[in-house]
C-alpha cells in the first residue's frame, strides 16, 4: 500500500506537532504536581492555568468556568449526572434527543433506572431537532435540556441559539455536547445561553484522554469524581498536565485557524459529495446539506452493508467509518440513522467520511474512484441488488 488516506477525523485525529511540542516538557522535566507548593510545581500550575484561559477564551467563558476532565464522555456523564443529582429536589425530568452520542444517551438511560424521567426528542429527516416538541416537553419538573451542538455521525448542526433561548425563557439549564462542533463553529456561551458544554481534545488534534466541561458560574452541580481539591474542588485527581496543555493548545489553534480550515474543509466536503452523487446511484446523503459540519460526509449506499464497505476501503488504504467508532463493535444499525427515518437495511449500508486538516483534493478523487469500484463489486454480490435489477 503506497499511501494511507485517513478520512475518519470525527473518530479521532493525530496530535499536531505544535500541540505535542507544548506538551513534551511536562512528561519528564516539568513533572511537578500542580497542587504542590514548591517551585518545581509552578511550571505545571501555570501551564494548566494557561490552558484553562485558552479554552475559556475560545468559547467566551471565564477561566473559572472551565473544568478539565478525561474526555468528552466524562464531561457528558458529569454534566448529566451532576445536574440530575444536585437538582433532584427541584425536579426529575431531563430533555434530550434521540440522536445524542452514547455518552449522553446511556447516561440518561442509567438515570431513568434511578427514577429520573427522560424525554428523547425526535429529529426531522435532516437530523434537526423539533423546537416545538422541545417547547411542549418542558414541564415544572424539567431540570435540564441536553442537546448536542453537532452530530458525530451525520454532521447536522442544531439551532443552538434558539434552543438556548427556549431554555432560558423556561429557566431550565442547558447543556450541549460540543465535542464535534468545537473548532468548527463559533461558540459564545453567553450569546447562546449555554450553561454547560462538553469538549474533547482528541477530536481537534489534541491528545486522547482529556477534555473539559464548561460550567456557568453559579450552576450547582455534584461532582462525578470526588476526592482531592483539584479543579476548584469540583473534579478530583492529579491533573493530567501534558494532556491539559495539549487541549489548551489544540483549542487555541482550532479557533485561530477556524475560518481558513472551515473554508478548505467545506470545499473538500462539497466536492466529495458531488463526486459521489455524480458517480454512484441508489444512494442518500444523510444529514442536513448545509447546516452540517465542514468535514462531514455521510452516505447510505443501498443493497450493501457498512462493514464490508469499510473493510474493502481499508484494503485500498482508506480509513473511514460507519456509525460512531465506539459502537462499531456492535452490529445494530446506528440509532442516529434510524432516527432520521432510514429503514434498517439502508441504515446498515452507511458510510461516514470525515475530513480533516490533512486531507487533499487528490485524496477525494482517489477515494471516489475506489468507492465506485467497491460499491459495484459488493452490489454484484448482493441478493438485494439482484432483485432491484430484476424489477427494472
Amino acid at each position: 500500500m503506497t499511501k494511507y488516506i485517513y478520512m475518519d477525523n470525527a473518530a479521532t485525529t493525530p496530535v499536531k506537532k505544535e500541540v505535542f511540542d507544548e506538551m513534551l516538557p511536562f512528561f519528564s522535566e516539568q513533572y511537578g504536581n500542580p497542587s504542590s507548593v514548591y517551585s518545581l510545581a509552578n511550571a505545571s500550575k501555570m501551564a494548566v492555568e494557561k490552558a484553562r484561559e485558552r479554552v475559556a477564551i475560545a468559547i467566551g467563558a471565564d477561566k473559572k468556568e472551565i473544568f478539565f476532565t478525561a474526555g468528552g464522555s466524562e464531561s457528558d456523564n458529569w454534566a448529566i449526572k451532576g445536574i440530575a443529582y444536585s437538582q433532584k429536589k427541584k425536579g426529575n425530568h431531563i430533555i434530550t434527543t434521540k440522536i445524542e452520542h452514547h455518552g449522553i444517551l446511556h447516561t440518561c438511560q442509567y438515570l431513568e433506572k434511578q427514577g429520573f424521567e427522560v424525554t428523547y426528542l425526535d429529529v426531522d429527516e435532516d437530523g434537526i431537532v423539533d423546537l416545538e416538541q422541545l417547547r411542549a416537553s418542558i414541564k415544572d419538573t424539567t431540570i435540564l435540556i441536553s442537546i448536542m451542538f453537532a452530530n458525530n455521525e451525520i454532521g447536522t448542526i442544531q439551532p443552538i441559539k434558539e434552543i438556548g433561548k427556549i431554555a432560558k425563557e423556561n429557566d431550565v439549564l442547558f447543556h450541549t455536547d460540543a465535542v464535534q462542533a468545537m473548532g468548527h463553529v463559533k461558540i459564545d456561551v453567553n450569546d447562546l445561553n449555554i450553561d454547560l458544554l462538553s469538549m474533547s481534545a482528541h477530536k481537534i488534534y489534541g491528545p486522547k484522554g482529556v477534555g473539559a466541561l464548561y460550567i456557568r458560574r453559579g450552576v450547582k452541580i455534584d461532582p462525578l469524581i470526588s476526592g482531592g481539591a483539584q479543579e476548584r474542588n469540583k473534579r478530583a485527581g492529579t491533573e493530567n498536565v501534558p494532556g491539559i496543555v495539549g487541549l489548551g493548545k489544540a483549542v487555541e489553534i482550532a479557533y485561530e485557524n477556524m475560518e481558513d480550515s472551515n473554508k478548505k474543509l467545506i470545499n473538500l466536503r462539497d466536492s466529495l459529495i458531488k463526486k459521489i452523487e455524480d458517480n454512484i446511484d441508489y444512494i442518500r446523503l444523510n444529514g442536513h446539506r448545509t447546516e452540517r459540519l465542514p468535514g462531514n460526509v455521510n452516505f447510505s449506499f443501498e443493497f450493501i452493508e457498512g462493514e464490508s464497505l469499510l473493510l474493502s476501503l481499508d484494503m485500498v488504504g482508506i480509513a473511514a467509518s460507519s456509525g460512531s467508532a465506539c459502537t462499531s463493535g456492535s452490529l445494530d444499525p446506528s440509532h442516529v440513522l434510524l432516527s432520521i427515518g432510514l429503514p434498517h437495511e439502508i441504515a446498515h449500508g452507511s458510510l461516514r467520511l470525515s475530513l480533516g486538516d490533512f486531507n487533499t483534493e487528490d485524496e477525494i478523487d482517489y477515494v471516489v474512484d475506489k468507492l465506485v469500484t467497491i460499491v459495484d463489486r459488493l452490489r454484484q454480490m448482493s441478493p438485494l441488488y439482484d432483485r432491484i435489477k430484476g424489477e427494472n
Partner: protein, 144 residues
C-alpha cells in the same frame, strides 16, 4: 474487530459468488433489517453437490463465511453437506470474532435451506431437515 488472514482472503476473493440459473435448490436466510441476507444456489446430481453459488448482503465475516461454506460443500454428498456445522466454517476460516459467530450460523442455515428447497422440489427426503427452524432469530452473541 480483527479478522484472520483467511477471512480477509475469502472476503476479498470470495469463491463461488453468483447465481445458478437452473439451480436444483435455492435457500435464503437472514433478514435485511438485521443487516444480513445470504442466498445459496445448489446444483445437485446423483446426491452430489456439483455446483454451488452464493449471494450475500452482509458484513465481512458473512461474505467470508458464505465463500468458505461453498468451498466446503462443493463436490460433497448431500449427507456431508448436511453435516457441515457453523463451527466447521468458522474453524476453516481460522476463527471468527465472538460477535461474528452468527455469520457462520447463517452460512450453515443457508445451505440447509437450499437443501430443503431441493428436497421439496424433487420430493426427496433428507434426514435432519424436518426439525430446522430458519426463523430462529439468530442473535448476535454478545461477548462476556
Amino acid at each position: 474487530m480483527m479478522y484472520s488472514d483467511k477471512v480477509m482472503d475469502h472476503f476479498t476473493n470470495p469463491r463461488n459468488v453468483g447465481e445458478i440459473i437452473d439451480a436444483d435448490g435455492i435457500g435464503e436466510v437472514g433478514n435485511a433489517k438485521c443487516g444480513d441476507i445470504m442466498r445459496m444456489y445448489l446444483k445437485i446430481e446423483d446426491g452430489i453437490i456439483e455446483d454451488v453459488k452464493f449471494k450475500t448482503f452482509g458484513c465481512g465475516s458473512a461474505i467470508a463465511s458464505s465463500s468458505m461454506a461453498t468451498e466446503l460443500i462443493k463436490g460433497k454428498t448431500i449427507d456431508e453437506a448436511m453435516r457441515l456445522t457453523n463451527k466447521a466454517v468458522a474453524d476453516a476460516l481460522d476463527g471468527l470474532p465472538p460477535v461474528k459467530m452468527h455469520c457462520s450460523v447463517l452460512a450453515e442455515q443457508a445451505i440447509k435451506s437450499a437443501l430443503l428447497d431441493y428436497s421439496k422440489k424433487h420430493n426427496i427426503h433428507i434426514e435432519g431437515l424436518e426439525d430446522i427452524n430458519f426463523d430462529d432469530d439468530h442473535h448476535h452473541d454478545i461477548e462476556e
